[in-house]
């Protein structure tokens, strides 16, 4: 799991992890009666895990120490309250959180990075992690949490707990290299991991691979495919809420054929097609799907190898292009 902090643990975390939540709460209540400043210090310790703060919410309220907590802890508590207040679709919490501010950004990073280690604590805790992930991705474009989110998704899939909102948040990055964090699960020894990875990467399910054969080869093959097609991939916004077979990321074949970079967000080429290119595309789109794939693959390979040859090839009639792509031609291969 890509989460948590190394080093000596905070004592509250230590008790919670070793003896359980009730023991942690008891310790806080008993110790806090006589040592108010010490429990505040423990809470404000930068090493504290989010799960301990979450667990001790009612004790914090009871001790009236909210104002003495660090900015990180106060923001995190507000965030928890806001989410727990919104029980129904029509409910609106009166807590306002400046989501785009840097202190909120840093707090959410702490919540997710340390909270991931305690995923499954309770439904409400997991939901807070989901929403923290969603805000970090959508509002702060914080890609550093992608490995943590990917790990959480697969961990929950194994446990059979809810992960659909996390997947949705993950793909909101619309960053093709994020797919690598999913792809690594193609190598997993667990068939559940492989099935989910293949589903999210839009690869056909293959019993042979699920059974564990050629996992490493499949992973390498996907990475090669990703490298080859990265410039032409775009994100569709499809999720498990939309379809049982969502295609979160798709290939723009037209752009690949013309070797034009695609915007991952809009699916359109970054530089719009010229009039000449539109003519090429009209011919290209007359072809069968398999022929289009052959043309796009050949075009991309040739363009990478020799721009001059590619420039000659793209000006040929599309029938001649496909003939060369299928059977080769000495001066171009």
């Amino acid at each position: 799991m890509n989460s948590g902090y190394a080093g000596t643990p905070n004592y509250l975390d230590h008790i919670r992890r070793k003896s359980g939540i009730d023991e942690c709460k008891n310790y806080f209540s008993e110790f806090g009666k006589e040592h108010r400043e010490d429990v505040i210090r423990l809470m404000n310790d930068r090493r504290l895990y989010f799960a301990s703060l979450f667990t001790l919410q009612s004790e914090i309220k009871e001790f009236h120490i909210n104002e003495e907590l660090s900015e990180r802890n106060r923001i995190a508590l507000d965030f928890c309250k806001k989410i727990s207040d919104e029980k129904n679709i029509s409910d609106a919490s009166d807590i306002t959180i400046p989501l785009s501010s840097e202190p909120v950004h840093q707090t959410l990073l702490w919540m997710l990075n340390t909270g991931a280690a305690d995923d499954g604590l309770c439904n409400e805790f997991d939901q807070i992690l989901d929403i923290a992930a969603s805000v970090l991705i959508k509002t702060h474009h914080e890609w550093s949490v992608l490995p943590v989110i990917a790990d959480l998704v697969f961990q929950r899939n194994r446990k059979g707990t809810y992960y659909h909102d996390l997947i949705w948040a993950f793909f909101q990055t619309r960053d093709v290299y994020a797919l690598r964090f999913i792809a690594k699960y193609l190598r997993s020894p667990l068939s559940k991991d492989i099935q989910l990875a293949r589903k999210l990467l839009n690869l056909p399910q293959d019993e042979r691979l699920i059974m564990g054969l050629n996992r490493q080869q499949e992973y390498q093959k996907y990475l090669s495919w990703l490298k080859e097609n990265a410039s032409y991939l775009y994100f569709t916004g499809e999720s498990l809420q939309f379809s049982n077979n969502p295609v979160p990321c798709n290939l723009n074949l037209e752009a690949k054929y013309l070797c034009k970079n695609t915007s991952p967000r809009s699916s359109k080429p970054v530089d719009s097609f010229t009039e000449e290119e539109v003519v090429y595309l009209n011919n290209f789109n007359q072809m069968k799907q398999e022929e289009k794939i052959t043309l796009a693959n050949y075009s991309q390979t040739l363009h990478k190898r020799n721009n001059c040859d590619w420039n000659n090839w793209i000006h040929y009639p599309v029938e001649k292009q496909i003939h060369i792509a299928q059977y080769g031609r000495r001066e171009l291969v």
């Binding site: 806001k82 989410i83 919104e86 029980k87 129904n88 679709i89 989501l99 785009s100 439904n123 409400e124 997991d126 939901q127 989901d130 929403i131 969603s134 805000v135 991705i137 959508k138 509002t139 446990k159 059979g160 707990t161 809810y162 659909h164 909102d165 949705w168 948040a169 916004g237 499809e238 999720s239 498990l240 809420q241 939309f242 379809s243 049982n244 077979n245």
Partner: protein
């Protein structure tokens, strides 16, 4: 164009069973005028699709009028007499409970249930089939219902989870309004699954029965600060495999 057993059929020959102004007539008119070929093995198979589309629409209105609440999967609830709530927030039919009774309970005791829009769509499909199939057949076919979204779906209904671009969008289709700039605090507003009721009105659980503009407005009100992309109706639809469901029904009667 409608083709039955390979022969083109005029809509006039098919309309006589339906009262003027009935939604069935609108559906038949629309597919008859389409450039797409709608092929059926028999007149019975054709009539089944029309009937099921009508039942999907009726069940949508019925569910909208029930007291079923909206809740995210994490906060979903169900009547424990009929369903077990899963770790993911779905509802799993309890052992020993008849599927027909469990589905009917959602409509009768809606206040004991709360869920997301995708689950509501599945409830609509099951209720539509329950109103067509003999109860014994329904219970035999659907003895392991899990209501959630498209991720856990009965094999007989898996096609409703597959969204495809269509030549025509018909009453009874499942459609989807996407909300790309949704507020990250409320991911449940990332989109709305709906049933097309008549080409103008849509039923979406948590929103209600409204036209396209109103649903888009509701979604747009739940976008993030600085959002620049409006919610929109996606150019796709999900449909059950009417022919397969019809064949099961027709074979059970033979």
């Amino acid at each position: 164009m409608i083709e039955i057993s390979g022969n083109a059929v005029k809509p006039e020959d098919l309309l006589t069973d339906y009262a003027p102004g009935a939604i069935e007539r609108e559906i038949i008119d629309q597919i008859a005028k389409s450039t797409e070929r709608y092929n059926y093995d028999s007149i019975e198979q054709f009539k089944f699709e029309i009937k099921m589309r009508k039942e999907i629409i009726d069940s949508s209105y019925e569910l909208n009028k029930s007291d079923i609440g909206f809740a995210t999967f994490r906060k979903s609830k169900c009547n424990p007499d009929f369903w077990n709530r899963t770790e993911e927030g779905g509802f799993l039919l309890k052992d020993g409970v008849k599927a027909s009774e469990a589905i009917r309970d959602i409509f009768a005791n809606g206040s004991k249930y709360a869920t997301e829009c995708a689950t509501a769509m599945m409830i609509v499909y099951y209720k539509a089939l329950l109103d067509i199939y003999p109860e014994t057949l329904f219970n035999k076919l659907f003895s392991n219902i899990e209501l959630m979204n498209w991720h856990h779906i009965d094999k007989l209904l898996k096609e409703v989870g597959l969204m495809k671009k269509r030549m025509d969008y018909l009453p009874g289709d499942r459609r989807y309004f996407a909300n790309p700039d949704v507020d990250p605090l409320t991911p449940e507003w990332q989109g709305e699954n709906v049933i097309d009721l008549d080409g103008k009105l849509y039923y979406g659980h948590g929103i209600g029965v409204y036209n396209q503009e109103m649903i888009i407005k509701a979604l747009n009100e739940n976008r993030s600060d600085g959002a620049d992309e409006s919610a929109y109706l996606k150019d796709t639809a999900g449909r059950p495999n009417f022919a397969r469901l019809a064949d099961i029904y027709l074979n059970s009667n033979s």
